[in-house]
Symmetry: C2
Subunit: 478 residues, 2 copies
């Protein structure tokens, strides 16, 4: 028992030190490991399998909207990166530079892509001649590099995995429609698959993407009350098209610039899953994204027929579920702790008495609820439990988010809430960058977004008291 | 008609200039495009969709053998690359070096991975402590960079996509078994899915991987008689383990070094598909790898009911096949040319008379064979045609390879064959590096492999006439 307790005890409680709890979980659940390459990590099988499921789900949703996948080079010549002024200013300070190829210095240095707008523009400038060539709705799955000073697994690392969609359209209306369409794909994916509720909205000019006309975002709230930008979708208008000369002959025989968008989601969503759903026993994975949904754990495995029956159940369930059997020589208690640490949604315990009675015990990871189930009804009950868990996890996360969303009407109130009540603070804003800067400087909070479809909660700016233009979600963020 | 002819005429005949034919096909079939980044290419949707199918098929086969996917950093610190002597000598001359991160020079320069043995070793050195931690059977899908001087789409580019499997085992026997197992996975995949027959064998010391104890390979023959190394599997013994200190406590409580393997397959297989199966009308894709297996092309689309019927057929076939409908305003002849250029295995033509008669015309891409099929039997006949085509393509490629495999017994015969008969030349070899060097220098041919399970064809070395040790497949290679 001493050994078994150690596994769980080794995790810091999330209420004591959330950051340490996070670090403990990513290590103990075997999601990542550190490497000799500073700021870069290994994504281990348990972590990568979550990413594979994210890819599969997102890719299917993308393709349903007409997206095609491509692959562009990882290197960007310096002159190409510099073509769009705002963009290079935003990214140049944090890119990695390749200066030598083989034994020779390069004539022009290349950066490792921090994002690929410039490469897609260069590509589209060649590909797009006529309105018949439009729209281009391309996406790539790849890794990108940003030379961050401080890093944390999944949340901020020098190299991370993502998808980046880049589209070109004949009109601004079509580009705007695609921008919002992809934001909705992200939002639906987060809620339906990851059980993470999101606030959809628009970024302020200060927070928008370097080179974008408009940036839309989905923002989610972690268990500690900090916000996480979870996916962004940008409308570039024709700014990049003008910088890169991407023109087409329209139906009316005139030469026009294309309108472009880009949108991305990254491995930081694995961090979001951990921080929204995890508890003091470790990871809790929503059933729809869990690489293993059910762990069958035989009790008194040495007794005749137990292992065979467990194998039979595993094989039966494998037809409809992602199931594993833990037939190692560890004790059942140790196996329970491991299954909990790894966030596997359901475990099925079965010992000699259960088998004799034609039943098994089903335990939900999130609520620890135990259910004695007849073996005949196993599939049916398991499907119900997984469905209920998926739904409950979303509702619990939504309730937590709503209970940690506050309305501030004065600056005093605002500062008090930001400092003492972890969560989103809703407050009106005059639209002036100075107020945004002041809030960030004095409280560390940033504007997360102007939310879609929410009513105003007042008429004056929460910072300066002048007439307010819009409602803003503010928060401290990862 | 002038326009339609142009599409086909623009391809160089493969008999006139095979290299130019290849370049024409990759462009006209819209597989790749060139970029501003010298030596790097864009893989366009039609090309990337082939890679996605390769990934899906290989990944499934890997996982059936217990492989788990991971992701390691793209950067390797110089000191790490240098740990294994042979390995660094093999790769250092062709890596790209990152020297600056953001605005600052790095303390130690990093190379962009040309392959990840060193990173996996560093990782395993941390992960592996006990025999319980073994085996590690990991794989990653990623891109790698090798600073090649001359490049060709898919066959040789500075950045390419691949998978690299890296395993660690308790014993040399187990490592050798895994090495051969993965070679067989590659061979089966090539034959069953890509319809490319391969010769399995072992590389000579001269041609083996930098740092490997033994390199196994599958070699295929292109239509022009040149060889293509199509997949390799390496047994490292404990060489890397000793350089990186990867030790474990075995069951007998003694400290031992692990035994390692690695194995990879790349996007150059798309080049192999083109060069094995293509013809003067363009690409010919084996049905099992084709992103689109069937193109429905309505004839006289303006006539009442034609488009509707074509859509109905498309929707019906979509249940069992990867099908598209070409409902653009191009002429049928133009659509036929495009479908042929893109290598789509089957087209279904249907005009008003066909529809009236309750039938359609099915045309096989490889043989151009036409089949009038009753609409009721469409699924059944289509499945038969696709199956037959897959099988015939493999047999045709095998017959071509066998007809272009020659036996040489003297050096004179050897040189004559290598220079005048494009293909594999089988010849006995004394085992001496000097003969291998001489052959390469004087003929440009390299030893492709010592084939598995083939009888000797003589007793003396085809180069020096001394007693021969083994049979070798020789050839000029991509």
């Amino acid at each position: 028992m001493a050994k078994e307790k150690k596994l769980v005890e080794a995790i810091t409680s999330m209420d004591v030190d959330f950051a340490q709890w996070y670090t403990d979980v990513v290590k103990k659940a075997e999601l990542v490991d550190y490497t000799s390459v500073k700021g870069c990590m290994v994504i281990k099988p348990a972590g990568y399998a979550i990413w594979e499921n994210i890819q599969k789900e997102l890719d299917r949703r993308f393709k349903e909207t007409g997206v095609e996948n491509v692959y562009l080079p990882m290197f960007i010549p310096e002159s190409l990166l510099q073509k769009e002024k705002d963009h290079v200013e935003g990214f140049a300070p944090e890119v990695a530079w390749v200066t030598h190829g083989g034994l020779e210095p390069l004539q022009e240095r290349l950066c490792v892509r921090p994002t690929s707008e410039t490469l897609f523009c260069d590509f589209y400038a060649n590909e797009v001649q006529s309105y018949r060539d439009l729209p281009k709705v391309y996406n790539q799955w790849c890794s990108v590099v940003r030379w961050e000073k401080t890093t944390r697994p999944f949340l901020r690392s020098r190299e991370f995995l993502w998808q980046e969609g880049h589209t070109a359209h004949a009109t601004g209306e079509e580009a705007e429609k695609r921008t919002i369409q992809m934001l909705n794909v992200y939002a639906d994916f987060c809620e339906e698959v990851l059980a993470i509720p999101v606030i959809k909205g628009q970024k302020t000019d200060k927070e928008k993407f370097a080179g974008a006309e408009a940036t839309y975002t989905i923002e989610s709230l972690m268990h500690d009350g900090k916000a996480l930008q979870s996916g962004t979708s940008h409308n570039f208008g024709d700014g990049f098209a003008k910088a890169f000369g991407i023109q087409f002959t329209d139906k009316d025989n005139t030469l026009k610039y294309v309108h472009q968008t880009s949108w991305g989601m990254t491995t930081r969503m694995i961090g979001a899953i951990i921080m929204v759903h995890g508890d003091d026993s470790g990871l809790v994975l929503p059933p729809r994204i869990a690489p293993t949904q059910v762990m069958v754990i035989p009790i008194a495995m040495h007794k005749e027929g137990v292992l065979e029956k467990a194998q039979e159940i595993r094989d039966r369930l494998a037809k409809d579920f992602r199931v594993k059997l833990d037939a190692t020589d560890k004790s059942p208690g140790w196996k329970f702790s491991e299954q909990e640490m790894k966030g596997i949604p359901v475990r099925i315990e079965m010992g000699p008495k259960d088998i004799e009675a034609g039943q098994a015990v089903m335990v939900r990871r999130d609520t620890r609820e135990k259910l004695v189930v007849s073996l005949e009804e196993l599939e049916e009950k398991l499907a119900q439990v997984l469905d209920a868990m998926q739904k409950d996890m979303l509702e619990r996360a939504r309730a937590h988010r709503d209970a940690h969303t506050y309305d501030a009407h004065t600056y005093e109130e605002f500062v008090d809430m930001i400092n003492n009540k972890p969560g989103f603070v809703r407050g009106m804003w005059c639209g002036d960058r100075a107020c945004e800067d002041k809030i960030k400087e004095e409280t560390g909070a940033t504007s997360r977004c102007r939310p879609f479809g929410q009513d105003r909660i007042g008429d004056t700016c929460v910072c300066c008291g002048r007439p307010a233009k819009s409602l803003i979600y503010w928060g401290k963020a990862y």
